[in-house]
């Protein structure tokens, strides 16, 4: 039996942030990772927004292995045979400090692990944690590959499935209603071609979201991020919608069809797929969060359900980094009090409440229910596509006036339904 001051399970962003923060304060911390290296099991879209976590680790960001800073934000509404693209760029996106960057997690997480190790954290990879050790109702350690490892506090950062939080009795197996699945390809493409195709210069990058036909009207959308010399192209779709069919479509088919869309095919042309990955994403919001702490244990990152989809952004990495940081701060406080009971660790929830993490989750708690409207993903994209077609079409004969052209798509019944959707959207 070995004893540590703290054990962290899972070297994703939550676990790495917790390990880094604790090690920096001289805490004897063991970080367990089941993959060959940190990042080996981790998948993200992926883009990281720095502003919310900049002050938590100010010394780190200048040296981080970013792919590109995001200077162009695009949204495409896709109908069956046409699409409407809106692009936003602005000086503020191209000025330091940059707001967000594309990342590849195998590289990023390995780098962050090096920083944590540099502060004195002990990283053990290839180690799967099988169970928690509970004594007198208190988590006092974990079992990993037959080893009994003890600690004053355990931080579960084992991702969206968090078998550890389940074993500690802090959550139940996930409900399909509260999760999406994301799957993506990394497609290598010459950096000069990327810059030309997306209108970028130097380290600038682009982020694109696609909604509508790309998920066949199911809740979700497509995404594309430019990396240094590759593209991350994928789809996020609600598990409930996918499993209920109507229309029944196998997940991989959606990505194949997405790649074949002319809008996408020309962006990835000549590129070579080098990896296919997938991950479940908690996006049930505030109401679907797990219990955040128990006796001797804290839960952070995806494990606690801390990812959020509000339509235009799907975010998880900042919440993972921040919750890992606050979990570590909680352990530091508990050490001073020499008390690791749930009552003592409840400070964690207070810290999250006072930070952007739970403030965001409370502010956007209606988003999952509001966005779960098939009209957003099927009806509106087709409507917008048809309107564009008629507005831009110049026929052989006389062209209709613009107002009647648009009005034809907006009968009273449609206006009424739109007003209803608008009222719902106002809750976000």
């Amino acid at each position: 039996m070995e004893k540590f001051e703290a054990i962290i399970v899972g070297a994703g962003l939550a676990g790495l942030a917790a390990a880094y923060t604790l090690a920096r304060e001289g805490v004897e911390v063991l970080l367990l990772e089941k993959g060959d290296y940190p990042g080996a099991k981790n998948v993200s879209g992926g883009r990281l927004y720095v502003n919310p976590v900049r002050e938590l680790f100010p010394e780190l960001w200048g040296k981080a292995p970013w792919e590109r800073f995001i200077a162009r934000e695009g949204v495409s509404i896709m109908a069956g045979e046409r699409s409407l693209k809106v692009e936003y760029c602005g000086d503020e996106l191209s000025r330091e400090p940059y707001q967000s960057y594309s990342v590849l997690r195998a590289k990023f997480d390995r780098w962050l692990a090096k920083q944590a190790e540099g502060q004195g954290a002990m990283l053990v990879s290839k180690s799967r944690v099988d169970d928690v050790i509970i004594a007198d109702g208190q988590v006092v350690g974990v079992w990993a590959g037959g080893d009994e490892l003890r600690a004053d506090a355990v931080i579960a950062c084992d991702g969206a499935m968090s078998l550890l939080a389940e074993k500690a009795g802090l959550r139940n197996p996930g409900n399909p209603r509260d999760y999406a699945v994301g799957f993506k390809e990394v497609i290598e493409l010459d950096s000069a071609l990327i810059e030309e195709r997306f209108g970028l210069e130097g380290k600038e990058g682009a982020a694109r979201l696609f909604m509508g036909e790309v998920t066949r009207g199911k809740f979700g959308g497509g995404f594309l991020y430019t990396n240094k010399d590759s593209l991350s192209l994928g789809i996020v779709v609600a598990i409930k919608d996918l499993m209920e069919g109507s229309p029944a479509v196998q997940a991989p088919v959606l990505l194949d069809e997405f790649k074949q869309r002319p809008e996408i095919a020309r962006l990835i042309k000549g590129g070579e797929s080098v990896e296919y990955s997938a991950h479940a994403i908690p996006e049930g919001g505030f109401k679907a969060l797990s219990r955040l702490y128990g006796n001797g244990i804290l839960v952070a990152g995806d494990a606690a359900g801390l990812a959020m989809n509000i339509g235009i952004t799907v975010r998880g990495m900042e919440y993972a980094l921040a919750s890992g940081y606050y979990a570590a701060q909680t352990v530091l406080q508990a050490q001073k009090k020499e008390d690791f009971t749930a009552a003592s660790l409840s400070g964690y929830e207070k810290m999250l409440n006072n930070s952007f993490v739970l403030k965001d989750f409370m502010a956007f708690q209606e988003a999952p229910a509001v966005l779960d409207t098939p009209r957003f993903f099927k009806h509106y994209p087709e409507l917008v596509g048809n309107m564009m077609k008629d507005i831009y079409e110049v026929p052989a004969g006389p062209k209709d006036r613009l107002y009647p052209t648009i009005k034809k798509y907006l009968p009273l019944k449609e206006m009424w339904a739109m007003a209803g959707d608008m009222r719902k959207v106002m809750k976000i």
Binding site: K41, L104, K107, L163, N175, E185, V249, Q250, P252, S277
Partner: protein
Amino acid sequence: MSTMSGLKAKLGLDVFKPDSEPHIRIKPGMEKDPRLKRAVLVCPAGLYKENADGAVEMTTDGCLECGTCRIACGTEVLEWNYPSGGTGVQFRFG
């Protein structure tokens, strides 16, 4: 190339390290449970298939460990764990 044969090629891009035993199993007697059929649709790696008898079969070869089948089908029909430490998929990009 059909999607499902293309999928094999896609999974062939990934690095997998073999485990000594499958980390996901259909619970005995549950092969025809309707909940399992959801996995045929949701699995991004296309590892679940319904055979002619209406029973669902699966393999863990090519599993991306996303957990979607566990969430969609539930733990009453699937025995689900991560592969042993240092085995299973090892993403090089993520």
